[in-house]
Symmetry: C2
Subunit: 249 residues, 2 copies
Amino acid sequence: MLTRSIIKYIQSLQHKKFRDEHNSFIAEGLKVVNEFIKDNQFDCKNIYATSEWINLYANNLPLIRGKIIEVKDFELEKIALFSSPNMVLAEFRKKVIKAQINYQHKITLVLDDIQDPGNFGTMIRTADWFGIENIICSGQTVDMYNPKVVQSTMASLGRINIEYIDLAKELKKNSLIKKFAATLNGHKLEDISPLKEGFIIIGNESKGISKALLEMADIKFTIPGYGTAESLNAAVATGIILYSIVRNS
Amino acid sequence: MLTRSIIKYIQSLQHKKFRDEHNSFIAEGLKVVNEFIKDNQFDCKNIYATSEWINLYANNLPLIRGKIIEVKDFELEKIALFSSPNMVLAEFRKKVIKAQINYQHKITLVLDDIQDPGNFGTMIRTADWFGIENIICSGQTVDMYNPKVVQSTMASLGRINIEYIDLAKELKKNSLIKKFAATLNGHKLEDISPLKEGFIIIGNESKGISKALLEMADIKFTIPGYGTAESLNAAVATGIILYSIVRNS
């Protein structure tokens, strides 16, 4: 049974202000919630689940004893942000990044004011696919715990270190690591050899990369287009860039 | 001034049933509406615009005389599906594809049950970037005139021929054209040379490509992953595939 105050509390976590205040965020649905718990990606605070989910999964998942509140389908719909909440919704504790990120011998994704939560989440999922460990973001980048970001990462959220940081300062501090900027008029992407190390800078969906960062770039590159579209979606562009630049061997 | 019946009518066009009945769809915001009109991509039926839009654009756009209904900001918000309607919303006539598509000497995108409107719209925009002319879709693919599809194409919608068709029958009929299927265990994508002709088959977001189409594929390929994500977003995968396979020269 959900009390009115629980419903209000969960709904409040759709807003960054309350996520910050309570150091919490919400994930929805089987896939994301179960993986977060299974891999212990985030510390679980409370689980709101239907009897079906409890029967199927509660015994096989560790560390959730005493945290489950059984809810009816209509109750789950009330607290869910998405139209098909799929059996479960859970509150997790935000993660604290403990150590200074080491950028050496690694590709690091640098996100300069990405605004769309779906784009950001998809970028995190894509980075995880290509084995990227670290993403650093400008302070104006959408919150990584925004429910739409969480959902579109498809559980990759906990497997990547994401840090909000003064990008210009951070890149300056790491002056020995090369900086590659995705622009609309640079070298052809396919002319850049696969990399073992570097910052890959992706700009805001409409304004692109800020002037300060652009001036710090060692190499500007472009994804060649042969049609009439003005630009690519930022998450699609990120996927193409990582495919082209990252190699395992 | 918007009457209650106009508001009801426009809202009804969020649903496929009514779009089909009236042979109409809605586009929102400066970028998409202005490009649709400017390039005469779709026949415009009615424009609901603020005085600001009218002052800025009405005189420079052709074929819209007598079609503009001036609305206040709060009225525009009432009929808009998206949270920031951006000065204008317009009703357009759906397009009829006149001729049989010619698949020779071209790359054609084949979409097997893509469900997410954002993914589908982004695929259309990406196809436009890479100069793809034709997309053929299964009957179960989300409607191309769904408002979220329209919006995420960023005005590429009218520049691509999109046809809903029995895919198995159509691929069978064109037996001389090679079929390439995006799967999770095929040849490495980078081992496939750039193509001048072929069907590129992309499957449903969760179920992948249907058995019937998979059996018709000449070549199955995979985007290599080096991390822990289970899969890539379907639109990101499409972008990577087209980048790798399409060359202009």
